[in-house]
């Protein structure tokens, strides 16, 4: 057994503490650099590839029973869009609201809430997983996004579906935007929901229309949808990362 002298031990402890502090400061500085987030982003791509390897394109999210429904479905982010046009629509219970579909599609469309409600609907009790860590369970009813896209007929080269929303996110008035690929857009559980727990979708949860993307985290499920755009590339959407939170450093693929 080697006995270290007290002075040597103290020196080692100090050396280690100083090294730890320097390392942490270095990690913080590197987090603010341009290069490190890119390297760490390899993790997102690896996760996406691995998750697509172990689960199929059409793998279904768990659906729950009525007993599991959260008494109150938590509202997060925008609870009431601070936007004059949106507020005017809300006064009228969204009777004048219209969903626009455009971009790389054969038939640009404009659909009212009544027209969406008249289409075949899907009802599902699913769990909403927020990137912050919490989950809430709710019953959603809406039109499968695939049915709406079928009406619009995407053109060859269409790769992403972009949601343009009514809620301003910052002082510049940048409104929320999100995007998903066609694997998720055509997934049977991906619906444009207009009902939550048997009642019209409340404003706090995205009235009149929000998308459910059940195999990804909550920020992918855009609320207050005004326009759906089909695109070949995300380069011209916001800063080019595919969504409002993505442009703030969050992953585009939010499967974990």
């Amino acid at each position: 057994m080697v006995h270290s002298k007290p002075s040597r031990r103290r020196f080692l402890t100090r050396l280690l503490s100083a090294a730890a502090a320097a390392l942490l400061a270095g990690c913080d500085a590197a987090s603010r650099s341009a290069w490190l987030p890119k390297i760490l982003g390899v993790g997102e791509r690896a996760s996406r590839a691995a998750q697509h390897l172990v689960s199929s394109r059409r793998s279904m999210a768990q659906e729950f029973s009525v007993a599991d429904i959260s008494p109150q479905f938590r509202s997060n982010g925008t609870a009431n869009p601070n936007d004059r046009q949106y507020q005017a629509l809300a006064v009228n219970h969204f009777a004048d609201w219209k969903l626009a579909l455009d971009g790389l599609i054969e038939h640009p469309l404009v659909l009212s809430l009544q027209e969406l409600r008249a289409m075949a609907s899907r009802t599902q009790i699913t769990r909403h997983d927020c990137v912050e860590g919490w989950s809430a369970i709710g019953q959603w009813r809406g039109v499968p996004l695939s049915a709406v896209l079928q009406l619009a007929v995407p053109r060859p080269g269409a790769r992403y579906v972009v949601f343009h929303c009514a809620d301003p996110m910052d002082e510049d008035g940048t409104k929320y935007y999100e995007s998903i690929d066609f694997d998720d857009a055509l997934h049977p559980q991906t619906i444009l929901a207009y009902e939550l727990n048997g009642a019209p979708l409340p404003i706090a949860n995205g009235a009149p229309l929000r998308v459910r993307v059940e195999r990804q985290l909550g920020y992918k499920m855009a609320k207050y949808i005004m326009r759906i755009e089909v695109v070949a590339s995300l380069a011209h959407i916001g800063d080019g990362n595919g969504g409002y939170w993505e442009d703030q450093g969050y992953e585009w693929y939010a499967g974990i």
């Binding site: 942490l24 689960s55 279904m60 769990r127 997983d129 974990i256």
Partner: protein
């Protein structure tokens, strides 16, 4: 006496290069994962049991302000960057773990050094007493892992680390679709989040005990052996002729 003529000290090669490299990668990965994990926890600093956080029951653990910034990576609230660190180093931990297991099986590190022998099992009571009395093996006995050490390493490598990973995967809405409902085995996604958190702290407890044992059984010798591979044994009279 015979041992008087033998050299008082000798060094032997304790840890292979592979074990040393994998060990230190593990140190870095676990530190980053733990600190970035606390960063992620701080975005919703409460723990629930069950399928959702909003089932009518209140959380059983809550921190008003989360963990202090000196414990998180990055320091200060920054969820997006915490996730990047966490989800990158999770891959490092997985790769490192797979390499370690593959190496340990192929090189027989697992069967020779880690698997408890029959005499290990018989001496378990003695080993517990020795640990409680902070007594450590000297001489030739220090060349081998003791039985508690073996069992602890096996438990961490094949129990705790796979469990913490599994509970992390349970938090993925996509991985939950592999077999819909598999997270209900532990009570649901929020239970899995709680277990992920508890398992992370169990790893911290392991590291604290591990570092404590390293410190009291010769910090320089232990550190040197995990850096250069060389571990110095001091011969004792009790060793007897060998």
């Amino acid at each position: 006496m015979a041992s008087d003529r033998a050299p008082a000290k000798y060094a032997y090669f304790r840890h292979s290069l592979a074990v040393r490299i994998l060990h230190w990668i593990n140190v870095v990965a676990l530190v980053v994962l733990f600190m970035s994990g606390l960063q992620i926890f701080n975005a919703h600093p409460a723990l629930n049991w069950g399928k959702s956080s909003y089932s009518g029951a209140s959380p059983f653990f809550e921190l008003a302000h989360g963990f202090p910034s000196w414990m998180t990576l990055p320091g200060g609230q920054w969820l997006a960057m915490g996730r990047r660190w966490h989800l990158f180093f999770a891959w490092i931990l997985i790769m490192n773990g797979l390499l370690y297991v593959a190496y340990s099986v192929a090189s027989r590190h697992l069967s020779k050094d880690l698997a408890p022998t029959r005499s290990d099992w018989r001496s378990i009571g003695l080993s517990i007493r020795d640990h409680l009395l902070l007594r450590h093996p000297h001489g030739a006995a220090a060349r081998r892992y003791n039985v508690l050490q073996k069992l602890t390493y096996l438990l961490v490598v094949f129990g705790l680390l796979p469990f913490v990973m599994l509970m992390g995967w349970a938090l993925s809405p996509r991985l939950d679709t592999v077999i819909p409902g598999w997270v209900d085995i532990v009570g649901g996604r929020q239970s899995a989040r709680t277990l992920h958190f508890i398992a992370a702290w169990a790893l911290v407890a392991f590291v604290l005990v591990h570092v404590f044992e390293v410190a009291i059984s010769g910090v320089v010798n232990n550190l040197r052996s995990m850096i250069t591979g060389r571990y110095v044994i001091e011969k004792e009279h009790a060793d007897g002729p060998q």
